[in-house]
């Protein structure tokens, strides 16, 4: 029989306010094998840990139960403390009486009863615990960055500068991402391209960075320190080694009807194209759906004019497989589709999204920077900005969250218009102006106070395109009046959402997403750049709406975490993996077919069952690949599969204790 000690934490008043801790301590002492129980205000503190250490020595404890917070919070803390005093860390169990008890119950008697019950379940489990020993796994000194926007570029440069190899996978033909589409950046109004393009060049020319543009992650296997990733390099139809970037091909290409992704569809591009003039790499791509040669077999003009002979119509997708120690997800965002926001007349040529407006004001954009109505080419006399289009919208068509960047870029847009064309009347309809960043409020106030931008608190209910002008109807919440106004151009501060590709990438990485589709961090306060999956890190807007400074800061933080990981020579593995009982396994393969990690194989082994020898097909777990998810253990009809540290017997013992 084990000698068990139970340690109950107050967690200040987090637990003690809802649970009678003394009662839990007293009841725990009545449990089988419990020889010591005690309480402390903060068990995770130095003093609390010392209390556990002293009790283990004094009472010869062979099992420890800590009734406190979620094991996700402090299991590692307490297991480390146990290891320090020579107890196998896996002889320690936690009962979660905070998140699953004190925080969610108001009635003290009921909460106390539940805390007692949860503690007794942990005691029942610890009686069946066996010492487990962590193994070691190697660390591949190479990082993969998924997404080549400012987040991905920043992480890659930081990691590469520290001396490690980094690969960037970017799905579009060039790196740069959303930031490349922007004209000026708030709150300094410095030119986006001027600060981004040198970074793009740095990334492309860095000895330690390999770019895989026009490429996608095909599959991910393995685990922290040892991921094996297959990258699909889509056929560019242009030989990257031969191409000199002269541009003769896209100058001559006769197929010019494809809407330009970079220009948000406001202008067309050729079938063979680079996304924008400063693209990195400066190597064109043939859009095979638009290319006349691919569609009809005739043309091939680009091939004729290409002096180095880089055009290759026969090129196939190429699969590259590479090992990585860490993966950084930096897939970014996109504006939501406005199909369900008909009241704003989004189909009108003079109703733009903010990103479209960004292109209109850009000197390299479709209007060469001229601020004109796209319907008739006239200069507008009045521009109206509508904020929170789809953001902070709890109806099913919208997003409940604040898209965060819109208040500031709208102030920026308004200011830029006023700066260049003081005669244009600029109105902004808003719910709240949120400007909590550094120099943000000053920026907004400058727009409203110095530049004379007219801010109206209220939402626009209807927009009608009258042909040569637009009419909108809105409520002014401060003056409490209805407004019907005439305007020439409307800019919608469209909510942003994660890219559609975020979900499949999260699936491949077994990482988590939230209900809005954004990647989830491991802990909202203490692990903001780590995903819950070890070795997978997050940077930028794939994790939630972020502006550029925040994105770059998160990228730097993620890079620091990656470097911490890559600098290790070995990692300790989780010993809580599956194991098959060879006397019970009948080799049916059910476990193999449900294993998401391909960690189970089969082998014919000679077994000795109580003196009877025979060959038996048996499941064999590759402990390096096993992630301890337990799918095999619940699938096995024979109960032969078990998860070490979470065996069927241990879990049934907990259930029994709870049902007593």
């Amino acid at each position: 029989m084990k000698r068990v000690g139970v340690f109950v934490c107050h967690c200040g008043t987090n637990i003690a306010a809802a649970v009678d801790v003394g009662e839990v301590v007293d009841k725990a002492r009545l449990e089988r094998g419990v020889v010591f129980s005690a309480e402390y205000p903060y068990m995770c503190s130095e003093a609390g840990q010392t209390m556990i250490a002293n009790a283990v020595k004094e009472h010869n404890l062979t099992g420890v139960v800590v009734s406190a917070c979620s094991p996700r919070m402090h299991e590692v803390t307490f297991r480390k403390a146990a290891a320090k005093i020579g107890l196998n860390p896996y002889m320690l169990e936690m009962a979660n009486i905070r998140e699953q008890c004190s925080w969610i119950h108001k009635d003290k008697d009921d909460a106390t009863k539940k805390a007692v019950s949860l503690t007794s379940a942990a005691v029942a489990k610890v009686h069946l615990n066996t010492p487990l020993f962590a193994g070691e796994s190697p660390v591949t000194k190479r990082a993969l960055v998924i997404g080549g926007g400012i987040a991905g570029i920043s992480v890659a440069l930081d990691v590469a500068d520290a001396g490690y190899d980094v690969d960037i996978v970017e799905s579009t033909p060039g790196i740069g991402g959303r930031m490349a589409q922007l004209d000026k950046t708030f709150p300094t109004l410095d030119c986006s391209a001027c600060i981004l393009t040198p970074k793009m060049v740095d990334a492309a020319t860095h000895d330690n960075i390999t770019l895989h543009t026009y490429s996608e992650v095909e599959s991910v296997e393995g685990f922290v320190g040892d991921f094996t990733v297959t990258i699909r390099k889509k056929a560019r139809s242009v030989d990257m080694k031969k191409c000199t970037g002269c541009g003769a091909c896209y100058d001559k290409c006769p197929a010019k009807k494809a809407p330009s992704e970079f220009e948000e569809g406001l202008s067309n591009r050729k079938a063979i194209y680079i996304p924008f003039a400063q693209a990195v790499p400066n190597v064109p791509v043939i859009d095979r759906e638009q290319c006349i040669k691919f569609k009809t077999g005739k043309c091939g003009l680009c091939e004729t004019v290409c002096a180095p002979g880089a055009i290759d119509f026969e090129q196939q997708d190429e699969l590259v497989t590479q090992k990585y120690g860490a993966v950084i997800v930096a897939t970014g965002f996109r504006p939501i589709e406005l199909g369900k926001f008909g009241e704003y007349a989004p189909e009108s040529k003079d109703v733009l999204t903010s990103l479209e407006f960004e292109r209109i004001t850009n000197a390299a954009g479709p209007t060469k920077g001229a601020l004109v109505r796209l319907s008739d080419g006239r200069k507008p006399k009045s521009i109206t900005f509508i904020q929170c289009v789809g953001s902070r919208d709890t109806t099913p068509r919208g997003k409940a969250y604040c898209s965060k960047i819109c208040c500031m870029y709208t102030a920026k847009h308004a200011m830029l218009v006023k700066d260049k064309y003081p005669d244009i009347d600029v109105n902004v309809y808003y719910i709240d102006v949120r400007s909590p960043g550094k120099n943000f409020d000053e920026f907004y106030r400058r727009a409203a106070e110095e530049y004379g931008v007219n801010y109206i608190k209220g939402q626009v209910g209807k927009v009608v395109d009258m042909g040569d002008h637009l009419v909108l109807q809105a409520a002014d919440m401060l003056d409490n009046r209805q407004i019907t106004a005439r305007t020439d151009m409307i800019v919608l501060a469209t909510a942003i959402e994660p890219l559609k590709s975020t979900k499949p990438i999260a699936s491949m990485l077994t990482a988590s997403i939230d209900t809005n589709g954004f990647m989830t961090e491991a802990h909202p306060k203490l692990k903001p750049v780590e995903s819950p999956t070890a070795g997978v890190f997050l940077a930028g807007a794939c994790h939630g709406p972020k502006d550029i400074p925040e994105t770059v800061a998160q990228a730097g933080a993620a890079a620091a975490k990656v470097l911490g990981l890559l600098s290790k020579s070995k990692l300790t593995t989780n010993p809580c993996v599956a194991a098959a009982d060879e006397l019970a396994c009948n080799g049916c393969s059910a476990c193999e077919s449900v294993c998401p990690y391909g960690a189970i194989g089969y082998e014919d082994r000679q077994i000795n069952d109580h003196g009877v020898r025979g060959n038996q097909r048996l499941a064999a777990v590759n402990t390096a690949l096993c992630q301890g998810c337990g799918a095999c253990a619940v699938t096995c009809p024979s109960g032969a599969m078990d998860l070490l540290g979470f065996s069927n017997r241990q879990i049934l013992a907990e259930v029994d204790a709870l049902c007593r």
Binding site: I513, T515, C588, S589, V594, P596
Partner: protein, 293 residues
């Protein structure tokens, strides 16, 4: 047909192609032939085939596959599904089996050695063709009873109030004498050590002191064969208490069909069952973390 089977078996034994023949053997009662291995040609006069040869011989092929030489086995259409399922689960060595598919006109229900009509499974039978065989011995003259709706009984139970349904099952299961016949005859119940006999769990001890049979034994067993049960109906056939065990299995089959699309265990030897198939492309969803609110 019986004579054809005897000749075929005799030839296979005589020329050494088979080491043994698995069939049904005559007993003192005409209504109760029993599964038996024949190794000598002389014994084949005891081999019978008639409507009382209800036993599904697939399960015996697990052991036969571990012995030397080929075993000839006679399988009715419904039995071939069990055979396939066991091949899929790597329990039967297909190379050591010579499957002779035999026609079936339905099996008789036998009570106290008396023929009292058709077995329930034969009244709902839709498995008219053999899904695996090396050779067929057919008798086109055999006619089957008209098939009724296989899920009729389940649908009726689903229509009951939960308390009524509970009472129905209490009525059925409280008569269980825990003879384990259902488990022992079930081809899917091929664990080396049954969980109900295992010292690894407390199940065996609990069974002695609680209303375990009534409340859990059969339900646990149904779940252990979920997705693998071919609905061969052997459990219900051998139950001495006439418990309607097929209803439990068919409820799970019906649910699987409704949730994952039509699936018949044992249809082939490759398709993974819906409960044991994992496809990273279609099944892997990133876990969605719901925020506190």
């Amino acid at each position: 047909m019986q004579e054809q089977l005897r000749i075929l078996a005799g030839k296979m034994l005589a020329d050494g192609r088979a080491a043994r023949v698995l069939g049904w053997k005559r007993t003192d009662f005409e209504t109760a032939p029993e599964p038996s291995f024949f190794t000598a040609q002389d014994d084949l006069s005891e081999l019978v085939y008639n409507k009382y040869c209800a036993a599904n011989l697939s399960g015996f092929m697990i052991g036969a596959g571990k012995r030397d030489g080929v075993t000839v086995v006679f399988l009715k259409p419904c039995d071939t599904y069990s055979f396939n399922q066991l091949v899929k689960e790597h329990q039967i060595d297909r190379a050591k089996a010579y499957v002779v598919g035999v026609s079936c006109g339905g099996n008789a229900k036998v009570e106290e050695m008396e023929d009292v009509g058709w077995l329930e499974r034969c009244l709902v039978c839709t498995k008219h063709d053999h899904v695996v065989y090396d050779e067929l011995v057919l008798d086109e003259s055999l006619s089957r009873p008209e098939a009724q709706d296989r899920f009729g009984g389940v649908t009726r139970l689903e229509g009951l109030q939960s308390l009524e349904r509970y009472e129905f099952w209490q009525g059925e299961l409280s008569t269980c004498i825990r003879c384990n016949a259902c488990r022992n005859v079930c081809p899917a119940c091929n664990c080396k050590k049954c969980v109900f006999d295992s010292a690894k769990y407390d199940t065996a001890a609990k069974a002695n002191v609680t209303t375990f049979e009534e409340q859990l034994f059969h339900i646990i067993r149904a779940y252990h064969v979920a997705g693998r049960c071919t609905d061969c109906g052997e459990c219900a056939r051998v139950c001495p208490q006439d418990i309607k065990l097929q209803l439990l299995n068919r409820k799970i089959i019906k649910d699987i069909n409704e949730l994952y699309g039509e699936f018949q265990a044992g249809q082939d030897t490759e398709t993974l069952g819906p409960l044991t198939a994992f496809n990273a492309d279609t099944d892997a969803e990133p876990s969605i973390v719901h925020t506190r609110g």
